[in-house]
């Protein structure tokens, strides 16, 4: 399995050329990072090349890396991650593409995999990542008229608005939320080696 992935990694290194920025195998999974130039051509190659044949797009999701490792992240903030599956070779591939911080925009792959349609709408809705060439980029999961991108790390967990029925006005009203965010278990990253506390089994 790992040999097959290693072969695929080397093959992709030759096939994708400049577009491929990075490819590594970790925990039995191959991750490739592609640049935005030539991204669509590379995707098409991944789908149609008989040695790749990644014909099923399993998942597309946005990632916000801003808090990664509690501030150790140096690199673009937003990424879009695609999970591909080849039914023919029974292999999976993870493709990552980074987007700019101020105006995150990446090419849409709807024309290559029709399944991307809703997944890209979801990434747009939750992270505000724009997909160039998407036929119908509307919000999908959040409320009608929602403001903000809720899955970004700087969006509060409790949200910004709350909704209630106002008997006087006879309608539903939105107000700034009064819920206070509380952290029960703090986030902790332990040092390497000390990573897992020192009590023996």
């Amino acid at each position: 399995m790992t040999d097959a992935l290693e072969n695929l990694r080397q093959y992709l290194g030759a096939a994708l050329g400049e577009t491929l920025r990075n490819a590594r195998v970790d925990r039995g999974e191959l991750t490739v990072e592609l640049s935005r130039e030539g991204f669509l051509a590379a995707c098409l190659r991944l789908r149609d090349d008989a040695d790749c044949a990644f014909d099923l797009l399993v998942d597309v999701c946005g990632v916000d890396y801003v808090d990664y490792g509690d501030g150790l992240w140096e690199g673009p903030r937003f990424a879009v991650v695609y999970h591909l599956l080849s039914l023919k070779h029974r292999q999976r591939l993870r493709v990552r593409i980074f987007a700019d911080d101020d105006l995150p925009i990446v090419p849409s792959v709807v024309d290559i995999w029709a399944a991307a349609n809703w997944f890209e709408r979801e990434a747009f809705d939750l992270y505000g990542i724009l997909f160039d060439g998407h036929p119908d980029l509307r919000r999908i999961l959040t409320d009608y008229g929602f403001i903000g991108y809720p899955f970004r790390k700087d969006f509060p967990l409790v949200g910004t608005v709350e909704m209630r029925y106002d008997a006087d006005q006879g309608r539903v009203v939105y107000e700034p939320t009064r819920t206070e965010e509380r952290v029960v278990v703090p986030r902790i990253i332990r040092e390497e080696g000390e990573g897992r506390y020192n009590a023996r089994n």
């Binding site: 991750t31 014909d55 998942d59 991650v81 278990v185 902790i188 990253i189 897992r196 009590a199 089994n201």
Partner: protein, 417 residues
């Protein structure tokens, strides 16, 4: 001659055959669907965002609430993701217990689907029969975890505890006479495995009953044959998985093609359809129930013969036995740290998938080494299926919308997350 415009109709969000809360905007030309635009998100709870703010163990029960008809399969994908990040070995017995419960879950899910589908298409009684069998399996859930639905039974590293030696029995009640009580308890005299084995013997005849009611039923065929046809290439292109893909004639099943848990050692078939219409999807799911039953029987047999640990002995991931905590200082520390700070998971990213009853249920998890996931993406099988609604419904009659929607096995817990 007046100009006739297309008629736009709202289906849901509160509609019995919307299977939860789906608002479907239908553009009609007479009775023919011109366009279907599903509006989802009415059940959106931001599970993925919540997961970023909870420890790995606290996140587990949220998995039950995603696809609330196939609870343990969701837990399975989540546990696999954590285990893969840590690089943890799961005891073999736990693998078999997980396989057993995955298949019980599959039958539970398909029974609910079958009942609800028949109800949507107009057959009332199948629903009642399906729920009769679901009751037995729910009891198994309850016996093993204490909860009938939201079990939280799988844990990273194995399962919470071993199978009970005694199957719980019905208690006397003013609403039940002694004869009925004896009937109910007849199969519950022995252990839980005895009860499941008895169920696997009874279940094929139940499936025969459903098939007698439906498979050759003329009305059933009129409502399902040739409805919502998706060819194999298109199904792959649309990201279909599970029975939706197999009914279109693609023999793809993760249990066989990328085996996990104990599936590699078990003997079962993958039912595949031909035309990819609603009728084929029905046949595939019914055949899957029979196969699941066969897998359950094999697991029961194996579990009887092979006692052993059911959860890892790495106490930084799983709790030590309770007796040990009374005497050992280290065990107490482990327990305290696990439930206050939680487990530390090495940095990295993994994607794990299981063949859930609805299709490929996947968890993509990024860890930066903290005690909480950095990012967790839930790949719900129903999401791409529902996205294909427009394409599948176009050109069909308005009554077929319900049949198509129901054939996808939609559950909004997982689609809206």
């Amino acid at each position: 001659m007046p100009e006739i415009n297309n008629f736009t109709m709202n289906f849901g969000p509160q509609h019995p055959s919307a299977h939860g809360v789906l608002r479907l905007v239908l553009e009609l030309d007479g009775e023919v669907i011109e366009r279907a635009d599903p509006h989802i998100g009415l059940l959106h709870r931001a599970t993925e965002k919540l997961a970023e703010n909870k420890t790995y163990l606290q996140n587990l029960p949220y998995m039950d609430r995603l696809d609330y008809v196939s609870m343990m399969c969701n837990e399975h994908a989540y546990c696999q993701a954590v285990e893969k990040l840590i690089g943890l070995e799961v005891p073999v017995r736990a693998q078999y217990i997980r396989t057993l419960f995955d298949e019980i879950t599959r039958i539970l899910n398909h029974l609910l689907w079958l009942g609800a589908y028949a109800l949507d298409v107009g057959a009332m009684s199948v629903f009642l029969y399906c729920f009769r069998e679901r009751e037995d399996l729910m009891d198994v859930y309850e016996a093993v975890s204490g909860a009938r639905m939201h079990a939280a039974y799988y844990r990273p590293g194995g399962v919470y505890r071993d199978l009970p030696a005694q199957m719980p029995q019905y208690q006397p009640s003013p609403y039940r006479d002694t004869q009925r009580l004896a009937e109910l308890n007849a199969s519950r005299q022995g252990s839980m495995l005895d009860f499941i084995e008895d169920f696997t013997r009874r279940f094929p005849t139940y499936v025969d009953e459903y098939e007698t009611l439906l498979t050759d039923n003329r009305i059933w065929k009129q409502r399902t044959v040739g409805i919502g046809v998706v060819g194999p290439e298109r199904a792959i292109q649309l990201g279909f998985t599970g029975p939706m893909l197999r009914a279109s004639g693609v023999a793809w099943d993760l249990r066989r093609t990328q085996p996990y848990a104990a599936y590699a050692d078990l003997d079962f078939d993958i039912p595949v359809g031909k035309t990819g219409d609603c009728y084929d999807r029905y046949l595939v799911r019914v055949a899957e129930m029979r196969q699941s039953n066969q897998i359950i029987a094999q697991c029961v047999d194996w579990l009887r013969k092979n006692p052993g640990p059911v959860i890892t002995d790495d106490f930084k991931v799983a709790t030590p036995p309770r007796e040990e905590m009374k005497t050992s200082m280290e065990a107490l520390i482990h327990h305290f740290k696990l439930f206050s700070e939680g487990m530390a998971v090495p940095a990295g990213e993994v994607y794990t998938a299981v063949e859930a009853p609805k299709g490929e249920f996947g968890i993509y998890m990024i860890s930066d080494g903290a005690n909480k996931p950095y990012r967790m993406k839930i790949r719900a099988p129903g999401f791409p299926h529902l996205a294909a609604m427009d394409e599948m419904a176009r050109g069909h009659m308005i009554a077929d919308v319900v049949a198509i929607l129901s054939t996808m096995d939609i559950v909004f817990g997982e689609i809206d997350r």
